[in-house]
Symmetry: C2
Subunit: 152 residues, 2 copies
Amino acid sequence: MLGTTYEGQNCSAARALEFVGERWSLLILRDALFRGMTRFSEFERSLGVAPNVLAKRLDLFVKSGLLEQTRAVSDDSLHYRPTPKGLAFKPVIMALTAWGDRWAAPEGPPVHFEHQGCGGRLTLRSHCSQCRDMPTIPEILAVPTKHRRRSS
Amino acid sequence: MLGTTYEGQNCSAARALEFVGERWSLLILRDALFRGMTRFSEFERSLGVAPNVLAKRLDLFVKSGLLEQTRAVSDDSLHYRPTPKGLAFKPVIMALTAWGDRWAAPEGPPVHFEHQGCGGRLTLRSHCSQCRDMPTIPEILAVPTKHRRRSS
């Protein structure tokens, strides 16, 4: 999480960034969402992160409802599993990955995204609810939404 | 930008986050990409950010090739305009916005994304290159890419 919130900035993107903008948070969430990691020791080994830092980040994710703690019946081991709120970060990580692959990965993409059903490559596209087209980047506009109750 | 890079983490998402993970960077880029802002004074007024902080962030964006400086012929005014590398961050901001709208915007989405062509609402979807389907979140897998030259 970032140190402070974006006061006066009514921006959903900025709010989302508060959860993954911190350097380790994104990597922990990536491992939880895409690599099936659930144990403290798995995250620790994967990331080489200091245990106190990892504990703090996992605790924040649990408190903010992105991960939930479960205990295995068999050996009482503690696991961190993504909630729907956490899983919903998958497209964010895909979008960041797509940018990094294109503009900051000289050795080529380290991972790609696959469709579980058919094994095809997945990309993230904008999709128009009206004409069903997939517009290119210049065709994407941001427009203020009119609410009945005015937001700041 | 974050203080240090993610050493040993061959992760495109983490690399992309280095550009927008900082609290003001995302908001500046949002204003540049989606609100058509180009002048220092426009960013300053929109964000209420300290001029020295804004100057540093804009400078970083220019150095990293996300924005480029131009001068108007008419009045010699300085403008910051997104490059293709910068414009490619649109889907990242859309994905962050979608998450924030769903999970952290109690007063409703402040903006929505529109298709310039037809005015329809735009959402970000994963798209399968093989079956042309748009898989749901649980069907999205991350798979290590095999390269000829091994990456760390």
